[in-house]
Symmetry: C2
Subunit: 434 residues, 2 copies
């Protein structure tokens, strides 16, 4: 182990959002859908008013918007955006749609962003996505080294059209990958071969495919929004295991797939259960050959090779489970400019979560993994990191505890790794010598 330095970390947020104030998307839309757009704006406003009745904490919304009025303009204003992110310690970002998660005031047209679903005519979904992508490419061009823009691609609305839009958006400068709707209903599920051209073009262009938290089985919840909060990770992350079990990563070994803002805490159990079923544990012996006929590796091996977690505001419990999830699979993000993220107080959150995490692992989760996944130009970003990045001291990683102390703390967990593979239990603690 080399002597640790106190050089600032290079921090990349693998979960940021940008979007124009709703009405301003009009000029980015093809003229033939502008009338439908005007109608959709009226309908959306009505929806928002309804949503605010009981579902939204209006006091919170007012306070949030008042306190951060200037910063929130960074949702669409490039200069302001760089300033806010720098002040938050972030020098690179991956940009998803929909800047306003409180009152939906800056969302891609026709709901083509995070909530993308089948309740919109396909041609409007595609038109809305294209308009957002056009605008986003211009935003990214103002600071191209810092901004990995994600093209919104509602693949359920048409595979051929989507492939064309992926090529167009990529050529226009969106190099962060694509966002697909996590819910395919009522179309074919994502194990269907009809989607193979999507996986093929993204493999060819090196574009990670993403799902992002948002959609869920909302029609079933009635007024009970707590059910939504409990289930949303399932509905938004679900394509992950559909792709793994159906062999998508066997057919497309270069395909990369990310689950963003669904947390990471559930990944260890998911991998554990999938691996054990794959290897026909006691409860799975009755399953036939079809179980594994599309795969040549364990589910966790596909996950390590092809998948990643845009974990956003990582939690302490996720740090505890990181050797099972895979340190290299966790990509932190500040969720700028959403209030459920860490902006504009990222430094405090990081100090709480990373205070006893070894330097190399901190560097990976805060930026290194994202740099590798999205191919950020790290050399170009290094000067910004030196100016704005948090130091180990600022994260509480220095002081009375040495790096050796920190590593010793986690040694048993690291050695255990994925216990279902290694067989090593780290609990309960060893019995005291008697």
């Amino acid at each position: 182990m080399t002597q640790p330095t106190d050089d600032p970390y290079l921090v990349i947020s693998a979960d940021c959002h940008a979007g124009l104030p709703n009405e301003q998307y009009r000029e980015w839309l093809d003229p033939d859908v502008r009338e439908a757009f005007d109608e959709s704006i009226i309908a959306r406003t009505r929806q928002q008013e309804m949503a605010a009745q009981g579902f939204l904490n209006t006091d919170f919304a007012e306070e949030w918007n008042a306190e951060n009025e200037e910063g929130l303009r960074g949702g669409w204003d490039g200069e302001r955006r760089d300033k806010e992110l720098s002040a938050d310690g972030v020098v690179g970002e991956v940009i998803f749609p929909d800047a306003d998660s409180v009152t939906s005031g800056a969302s891609a047209p026709f709901g083509a962003g995070l909530g993308s679903g089948s309740d919109t005519p396909p041609e409007l979904l595609l038109a809305g996505a294209t308009a957002h992508n056009r605008w986003l490419a211009e935003l990214c061009a103002t600071s191209p080294k810092r901004r990995a823009g994600i093209a919104v691609v509602p693949i359920i609305a048409g595979v051929d059209e989507s492939v064309a839009e992926i090529r167009r958006a990529h050529a226009s400068g969106l190099w962060g990958g694509i966002l697909i709707p996590p819910m395919w209903q009522p179309h074919e599920p994502y194990h269907h071969a009809k989607y193979d051209p999507i996986w093929a073009v993204c493999s060819e262009l090196g574009l990670p495919v993403h799902v992002h938290s948002g959609p869920a089985d909302k029609a079933s919840y009635g007024p009970h929004i707590g059910i939504y909060t409990t289930e949303v990770r399932f509905w938004s992350g679900r394509p992950l295991w559909f792709l793994i079990w159906s062999g998508a990563f066997e057919r497309f070994p270069d395909l990369r797939f990310g689950v963003t803002e669904c947390g990471a805490f559930w990944v260890n159990d998911l991998l554990w259960r999938m691996d054990l079923v794959y290897e026909r544990d006691h409860g799975s012996q009755k399953l036939g050959e079809q179980l594994t006929s599309d795969m040549s590796m364990r589910p966790s091996e596909y996950f390590d090779r092809n998948c990643f977690i845009g974990a956003s505001n990582t939690l302490r419990v996720e740090m505890a489970r990181r050797y099972e999830i895979g340190v290299g699979n966790i990509l932190w993000g500040n969720d700028f400019p959403h209030p459920e993220g860490t902006w504009p107080h990222t430094a405090e959150f990081l100090a709480e979560v990373f205070r006893d995490i070894p330097d190399d692992e901190t560097a990976a989760m805060l930026g290194g993994n994202a740099a590798d996944m999205y191919d950020f130009d790290v050399e170009a970003l290094r000067p910004l990191a030196n100016e704005f990045g948090p130091t180990p001291t600022q994260l509480g990683q220095r002081g009375p505890q040495s790096q050796a102390d920190i590593e010793a703390k986690w040694a048993d967990a690291k050695r255990a790794g994925r216990p279902w593979r290694t067989g090593i239990e780290t609990w309960p603690r060893a019995a005291p010598a008697s």
Copy 2:
């Protein structure tokens, strides 16, 4: 702490199954549905043949059925059943439907058992359930102290009819509670007030309501059975959080609700997430008052008061999480006579899982919790337990390790309890003195 004895544990399986060989249900059905029954038997045979193509390990099925031919008759033969359970160390049982989980050869008529769903006309579902319940009451009568029979009640097929059947089945001697379909689609979700009469009658009669693993979104999986194995716990356990968030346990404080054979390993994370959202953690501050307007307690408090987990074959990882799940909420089961359970090798499984679990907690999870939940006559079962129950020595709980050693091993985890409530982290281990 009193000096530990080596008295055998009183073991109750909170997850067993019984069902007649399919054709034999004919005589238990009302005459007016027997013709439909004959047709359904033919259709079911065809379905089974299809299911066997790739989905079923036919070698395993043949071997299992050949090796256990006699014991499997315990699925419907009372005398054989007692003999098998006693030999397995089990003296009391909670009886769900569908004895054959390999080739579906002993399932309640019209699929009214574990797979109960909306693809069957309601009147046939109800008729099939009633036939099974009639037969089960007779099976239970042959050993009434040992057998808590569960009435199958497809409440989606009609609330009034279901209430009547619950009263009839209870009066006929089925005192274990009721099984409802975990999937309500396309009917109203279980937060709907239309189901209140069900919760009311079960509260009145002291009958726990159960969901049991089995149903899932099967239409979406194509040939990829691995997806089913990954999702089935979500679909089968889902009513749990629908009832909690919608205030069912607020309106019916005596209602008890169990999730059986879905494992227990996910419960700690579920409670953690629900509690934090309820208390409006950082990510939930934007949610409106509707979030908690149907509740007066935290989700974990309803869970502790009203809910339980029929955990079946408990796993080591579930032992590690038991203070978060709640030791009192975990009810072990051997899943007799299903091959994914522990019968006929329960002793070996118990020794693996419970080898370092304190006596009092072992006693609770293996039987005491079930005795309390279902009101088994423990005094009547004690002589059987003395004859057949496993001893602490047989579970590896004696020998070099003292009871104090065992308790010391888990002391930190026990002290931490539910860390989201106590704030106590048990990981990483304390840094070594420097």
